[in-house]
């Protein structure tokens, strides 16, 4: 009943099929503007923290995939990771 137009929007043909559809086009433009923004430094800084904490752990412990039951990596990376709203 509702599918009057085939909505096979995938990565490649989306630009073509959505060209006639102002809503899709508008949304894509709207969110592309965010995608195109440079990544804020805080993201990379946060990743670096997690990364170094994790690799220190890996070299110290068994390299086998241990089931880390719990978000250990998060809280111990430091207080200024923007996690004040969590847990």
């Amino acid at each position: 009943m509702q599918g009057s137009k085939p909505n096979a929007e995938r990565q490649d043909d989306s630009s073509k099929s959505c060209a006639a559809d102002p809503i899709s086009l508008g949304l894509q433009h709207l969110f592309q503007s965010v995608v195109d923004e440079p990544i804020p430094d805080e993201f990379m800084a946060l990743l670096d923290k997690i990364d170094s904490a994790a690799s220190a752990k890996h070299t110290g412990n068994t390299p086998a995939s241990e089931p880390e039951s719990g978000p250990e990596t998060g809280p111990e990376t430091g207080p200024d990771t923007g996690r004040e709203t969590g847990q």
Partner: protein, 185 residues
Amino acid sequence: MTAKSDSAAFRADLVAAIPALRSFARGLCGNRDLADDLAQEAMVKAWAAQDSYRQGTNFKAWLYTILRNHFYSLSRRASRFAAWDPDLAARALVTPADQGTALHFADLERGLGMLPTEQREALMLITAQALSYEEAAEVMGCAVGTIKSRVSRARSALTQFLDGPAMPHSRPSPSASEPEPETVS
């Protein structure tokens, strides 16, 4: 050794997905700062949960799932996340576009804000984030048919909003925009 190289690969995937993650977060809550907090928290959670990612599945969809679960658990506790904050259109308006389209973005964004979150989310995942219906269904934890009907309802609500009679605040000053004189004496 594989643990380390797996981590490096995971990190690279994560970095590559940051822009998409930020844009999805922005679409969920509409506010730049809240969205970036969300995206960073999702990144930390994703890192902690990297063993649960299944190779060969859509990585972005997996990240979106983590982010939206986090978003909904936060918005149950803090109402500031529940409200759509119209920050998005303001930025889109800065991007080069012809005037007609730029005006359209403001309306589109207002229309987005009127949609129920789940409809807005389904519409974003399918159109802006280019997920398949199946992937979107997995992200939102519902049936494919539910996604289709949410997208469909979101589209018709938005179309109606954009085409229909203007809302009072989308035409700020009728005197300027409507030169048509009243025929009543």
